[in-house]
Symmetry: C2
Subunit: 590 residues, 2 copies
């Protein structure tokens, strides 16, 4: 037996017990003939004690040879501590050593194994197994485990069946790029790794499974932005014989359960906002509603600005702004910096107009040349601005300007401390457009209509006639869950009729042959008694990061890849033997 107790469990009631502990040396102190060793494991830290003259000399000698992170087995007697430490669960006791065995030595770690470490990102990724020893990193993964547990508890109680869907599936042209897997048994052919189990969960509904869920790995071969991973985890769900309302209720229930179980928070009812409203009021389909600062249109809904010889506003499709409370005293330098901020290529605004509502009641703007104080009062009224507030205004093409102002709004929210990660605001965004014209997800190709959610999303029944007249106006029964400005989940009511699905593929530019080759099995399934069904998927890594109050999903993944898709710890991807290539009947090209 390598231990009788963990390093987190001994208490004053255990005094005088003979125990065996095993763990890592966190630190040692050697002072005035006394030696103390902090022994650490996942469960806590226990202090070991040796005393010259009392402890056997060979044990003392061994203790003096210990280094940080050595793995040791310690035998001794639980003793009440002279100086108690009420910051430690085991702080009332220490172990008087009677035996000490080094199970494994340790080289000096390449960075400090402390909450505040001196290790850079790549170094910590290379030695991820040491990074995972740090309390805050381990706690992230413990949180993840808890979120998974609680998700399963809720889903099981709601009669959902967890079904595993295949990982080796079929490559499809729609959506992001697939990872593919050459088949040795079927030379020249490839499996693909799933971007989601979408078609399989729909088939499970056709099978009558009624309520399906799975916490499942998904894969996307995309160019990795700061916070994307080539493999990620979804809570994937589907239900039969439900409307959108049923889904929203069910998964509002899930999220409330998780907030209660994981964070101890009673979430209020989750508000709903249409996509159209979200875009108009926040310039984003995932508005952060922890703070207001809603968009106010000076030209758009109304027109307070045209005809004053200010060319920018006269020619703009939209003039829209936000009111930053209490920012009227921003200095010229601050305003210049803010203007530069919106002009950065990531945002790409041409400039920023502002109007200060001074404490003395006067209003001064950066366009005083064109607008009288009277005009500005009218603006202030529209903004609901008070003395002390700062109005920030942008102008241009409507969609672009809204997106730019969204960035500014979020930035101002951050600067004003309105985006506290411990303040949780959950939102349903509903009534997404079915289609969008332009490029597919990250793949600059020919301009055409793309499914905004995916090709299996149902149009709203009342909008079906628009499929032949005005594609851009068709709304979908699609919904996203947004927490603090981050999309954590999304889904839709699905098409379950073959003719409508066929029509959808046609709109997306599939020939009938292509549609059949790719999704013939699904459309055929729809002919054998497919029930109405709908579903949702949550980004599990993202959800965990939000519960953890941390921006990066990488901190919630045990072994993440870097921005080049590499696992720098195991050094993967890597070349493979010519023999493997030959067996697979493939060759690499320069």
């Amino acid at each position: 037996m390598l231990r009788t107790h963990t390093c987190g469990e001994l208490r004053i009631s255990d005094v005088s017990k003979e125990v065996i502990l095993s763990g890592w040396v966190q630190r040692t102190r050697d002072k005035g003939g006394m030696i103390w060793i902090d022994l650490r494991d996942r469960y806590g830290i226990t202090q070991l004690m040796l005393e010259e003259g009392k402890t056997a000399p060979e044990i003392i000698a061994q203790a003096r040879n210990l280094g940080r992170e050595f793995v040791v087995q310690a035998t001794g007697v639980v003793t009440e501590r002279f100086a108690k430490n009420d910051k430690m669960a085991t702080g009332d006791i220490e172990i008087k050593l009677t035996g000490l065995t080094v199970l494994n030595s340790a080289k000096l770690p390449p960075f400090q194994i402390e909450d505040k470490t001196d290790g850079g990102d790549e170094l910590r990724l290379k030695y991820r197994y040491l990074d995972l020893r740090r309390d805050i990193v381990r706690k992230n993964l413990e949180l993840r485990h808890k979120v998974a547990q609680q998700t399963r508890l809720f889903m099981d109680a709601q009669n959902f069946i967890e079904v595993e869907t295949p990982v080796l599936i079929k490559s499809t042209p729609e959506g992001a790029r697939d990872f593919v897997v050459p088949s040795r048994m079927n030379p020249g052919e490839f499996y693909a790794l799933p971007q989601s189990p979408q078609t399989f969960k729909q088939l499970l509904m056709v099978s009558g499974f009624d309520r399906y869920y799975q916490i499942v790995k998904c894969f996307r071969d995309e160019d990795l932005r700061a916070d994307r991973q080539p493999e990620f985890t979804q809570i994937d769900c589907e239900m039969s014989f439900v409307t959108q309302e049923d889904i929203l209720q069910m998964f509002e229930g899930l999220i409330r359960h998780l907030f209660k179980a994981v964070k101890g928070l009673d979430l209020p009812e989750v508000p709903r906002m249409t996509y159209a409203t979200a875009m108009k009021k926040y310039g984003s389909d995932k508005p952060d509603i922890r703070f207001g600062m809603e968009f106010v249109e000076l030209k758009g809904d109304n027109d307070f600005v045209s005809g004053k010889n200010f060319g920018l506003f006269d020619s703009a499709e939209l003039v829209v702004g936000i009111c930053a409370k209490g920012c009227a005293e921003y200095t010229r330098k601050q305003m210049d910096e803010l203007t530069e901020w919106v002009k950065r290529p990531q945002i790409g605004a041409k400039g920023l107009i502002y109007a200060r509502y001074n404490a003395d009641g006067t209003i001064k703007s950066s366009v005083d040349k064109f607008y009288s104080e009277e005009d500005l009062k009218q603006w202030a009224e529209a903004f609901g601005a008070q003395p002390g507030d700062l109005m920030l205004i942008m102008a241009g093409e409507a969609n672009k300007t809204r997106k730019q102002l969204n960035e500014l709004r979020l930035e101002m929210g951050s600067r004003l401390g309105l985006r506290n990660p411990d303040d949780y605001k959950v939102l349903w965004v509903v009534d997404f457009p079915l289609l969008e014209y332009g490029e597919a997800d990250g793949r600059p190709e020919e301009n055409r209509w793309y499914a905004m959610h995916h090709p299996f999303t149902s149009p709203k029944p009342e909008d079906i006639p628009l499929l032949t007249t005005d594609l851009g106006a068709v709304r979908a029964n699609a919904y996203d869950m947004v927490i603090n400005g981050t999309e954590v989940g999304g889904g839709s009511v699905r098409i379950f009729q073959r003719p409508l699905q066929m029509q959808m593929f046609e709109i997306l530019g599939f020939t009938p042959e292509e549609a059949k080759a790719q999704f013939g099995f699904l459309m055929e399934a729809f002919e054998f008694g497919a029930p109405p069904h709908a579903g949702i998927a949550f980004g599990f890594d993202r959800l965990c990061s939000i519960f953890g109050g941390v921006d990066s999903i990488r901190d919630f993944i045990a072994f993440p890849k870097n921005n080049s898709g590499r696992d720098v710890m195991i050094d993967s991807p890597s070349t493979i033997d010519q023999k493997q290539l030959d067996e697979l009947k493939i060759a690499t090209k320069a």
Copy 2:
């Protein structure tokens, strides 16, 4: 709202409620102006009723147009049934219809959706979504869900943390063939799909996670035998600061919990058998101990047979047999058939010697020419044979003969009805050899020493000196769990010291450079304070099939592949676009 209740929940206490049900038409009966419809969903079947003259004519007309597997929504009033059906949970009531909506029609299914179906294997795989509608298939997946749930309950209660390990990892030469994934961002390089999360779970132990588990997909690109799948699921576990005994106790606990929770069975303590004993007594490292019929050596431990001029026995390394109780009356024809059975290429025996212990006390053998009745009495004593028993004897090279006799023993067990799938006998097989000489798992290559379990398995400490003198004699701290003759799990105490791991790679024929390139990260991790650790993995699909009393794992996988590794439903693998190949910088070869 598409339904107020499921098809499994209405009872006599619900009579007179207005309800809405949705589901599939299982069957309709139309007789004497009455129509009954059995409406089915996952939860059960409810009878709908229409009556000419009472039900609205348009509803009657619609009901008469329904076909099997149509999806309908039915509105009506719960009514007490005239003729109750106590075989159905809802058999006390029926629904008097007031409304009927066809949600989707259905073509005639290509096979009967009944427990006994007329569909062949490939047809049912092609329409797997229809096969999954069959009660017995859906119940298999429900059982699987329950086994997963109960596994997680147990593991969570034991303080194990579920950690997800990566799917895109690194190809390693040891073990079975890897599936590989070309990397677009790192041209010429490949990820591999994990055959198991072995190195990652060991690194989690180095990280101090202490107790890890995961229910996880694993992948092997092997030529598929009848009951193998390219992707399969494991319950993967690892523990720190434990001995083999701790692991056996913990996972005996898991299996007892599962038997209790899933089958309602109290499993007795799990016996243990060494590999050496298993091979000697059963000719197999996974003996089926539901029945005895242990091997008896006529030449080996003893020698009752040499020197009687019977060349086969004289020259044999081993003469060994089993005693088939009550089979003395096998006819000559039956004996010929049994002899042919052991001579089939799958078994490859040269022949079969037998001796009948007749009811009258005489013994007659197929080698009476060489052995007197006195000799045969001696044999019978060795076999513990009684009048009425049949002794079946094989001879030849020891290992080969034991394997052949193992097949015969299992066959006789089956023929004698001693292998009831509802009778569960669990066994630990321990003390496996560390190494075996010959071919690797399914890959006929150069003969050399291979790790019997895997290269990370620790030799027994007392056998470490043999690593330099007698490799074949080194025993490992490795163990398998066997249920009814099937290996359901296996694991080992791991090497956690760099020098021993390096020595192991050397024995397996790795150059130091190869060892470093492939497993450098693990060996480096061992230098930063690796704790003693050990683990186990259970074949989850297999475990489910055993709980289900069914031989095939395929029945417990929602969307299995066929023996050519194809998913015939979605038609995968498939060719991919030239554009995809170009992006990946690979080419297929003829």
